[in-house]
């Protein structure tokens, strides 16, 4: 099959995260392009958390999407550089997260508060109140913390700064 770069780009952009299905791998910032060698295509992914089980699933989904479009010789390579950070989540990704009920990261990793451990205010994705509190630093997946809103009383996930 002839390698059509813009077509491949289009297919890959639309692969979604299995845990947060509203986000594509491009929104998440983990998609780092692809390399071709003859008919062989190597898709580059920079993993989120090192132990994230969704990475294996994403690799499978990338291969499946490519196969559906007729590309059978596809490899997914996990690369460690550039190191993924939550700063790489797109604006679009932030909006989709909020709509899905997950609070997006409120700070940049370059902010001092990130390393010093100082708590930032995380607005509630349901009612936008800033009267929220952390329940646990670790939530339903490696990338999220668990918060609750003191105004609407709903618990919510926070995509924590990484």
């Amino acid at each position: 099959m002839v390698v059509d770069k813009s077509n491949i780009e289009e297919i890959l952009k639309n692969v979604t995260d299995p845990e947060i299905p509203v986000l594509t791998i491009q929104d998440l910032g983990i998609y780092q392009g692809f390399e071709t060698d003859g008919n062989k295509i190597t898709v580059l992914i920079t993993p989120t958390y090192t132990g994230c089980p969704a990475m294996d699933m994403i690799s499978v989904n990338v291969k499946a999407a490519m196969e559906e479009a007729g590309y059978n010789d596809v490899d997914v390579k996990l690369i460690l550089s550039p190191v993924w950070t939550t700063d790489m989540i797109s604006e679009e990704g932030h909006r989709k997260l909020r709509e899905y009920g997950i609070a997006p990261p409120v700070e940049k990793t370059s902010d001092k508060s990130y390393m010093s451990g100082e708590e930032k205010i995380v607005p509630c994705p349901q009612c936008e109140s800033t009267n929220t509190q952390i329940i646990s630093q670790f939530g339903s997946t490696a990338c999220k913390a668990l918060y609750k809103c003191n105004d609407c009383l709903e618990p919510f996930d926070y995509f924590k700064c990484y």
Partner: protein, 257 residues
């Protein structure tokens, strides 16, 4: 010339495995608590940390397999080595005990782990530097989590304080092994690549003392720190841990998903 390179690779392999083994064994110990946490949120937190550590172990074992070559895979190291081949520190193989023991072991490891990764970012080995730059983000959360619990329980009720003090008294003798160089950490060919584990001791201890003080815990004096794990001499608990970790591969050799 060729010989020198090979020797260097062998040392690097051993060093990478030492780092991987620490993450792997603590990850396994924490995984044992899955479904047994004191409350749901903490059960999830502990297993999240386990997942991070096993993730770190995986990228290191993958690197080890590349260094060794000959068709080795990341799975060969955790599943197909016996006790004496493992180089993890004794701290990480200690049994879970109660929640206070789990938190104290975690806190000690996090103090070391965080400082170690911080130094490893400057390693002249590009791959190790990349792995450190990535995993330190996770270790930062671990240290924050375990520090908060040490303070909350240490400076909590009389009962929680006593339990934390007991956990500290019990585990303190395993803390310093991380900062005592093993044979491989003394290997000169690894200069620039390896982390100077003696140099990071000060920083790790400063964090450890600061949190213990806030938690109103007294650090007992240790006359004889326990060591040997890094050179393959493990405690009696380790064989039991491995028999569970390696059960499937021992009962059904080379089985696959």
């Amino acid at each position: 010339m060729g010989e020198v390179i090979q020797l260097n690779n062998e040392s690097l392999l051993k060093y990478v495995l030492q780092l991987a083994d620490n993450a792997m064994i603590l990850g396994q110990r924490l995984a044992e608590t899955c479904g047994h946490g004191p409350v749901l949120e903490q059960d999830i937190a502990i297993t999240n940390i386990s997942l991070d550590l096993i993730g770190e172990a995986r990228v290191l074992y993958q690197y080890a397999a590349e260094i060794e070559g000959g068709g080795k895979t990341e799975d060969d190291y955790p599943y197909k080595r016996d006790v004496r081949d493992w180089q993890n520190i004794l701290l990480v193989e200690q049994p879970n005990g109660h929640f206070g023991h789990i938190i104290m072991r975690q806190f000690m490891f996090d103090c070391y782990h965080y400082c170690h990764l911080k130094a490893m970012i400057d390693s002249s080995d590009e791959r190790l530097a990349q792995i450190a730059a990535k995993t330190i983000k996770e270790a930062t959360y671990h240290l924050k989590y375990s520090s908060e619990w040490v303070i909350r329980l240490g400076d909590g009720t009389e009962e929680s304080h006593d339990k934390m003090q007991e956990a500290l008294n019990d585990r303190i003798r395993f803390f310093d092994e991380a900062f005592i160089p093993s044979k491989i950490e003394n290997e000169e060919s690894l200069n620039g690549i390896k982390v100077d584990c003696v140099a990071i001791r000060k920083l790790a201890w400063a964090k450890f003392q600061e949190i213990c003080q806030t938690a109103t815990l007294e650090i007992p004096e240790v006359k004889f720190p326990q060591k040997g794990g890094k050179d393959g001499l493990h405690s009696e608990h380790f064989g039991y841990l491995l028999s569970e970790l390696q059960f499937l591969q021992k009962s059904y050799p080379n089985s696959n998903w």
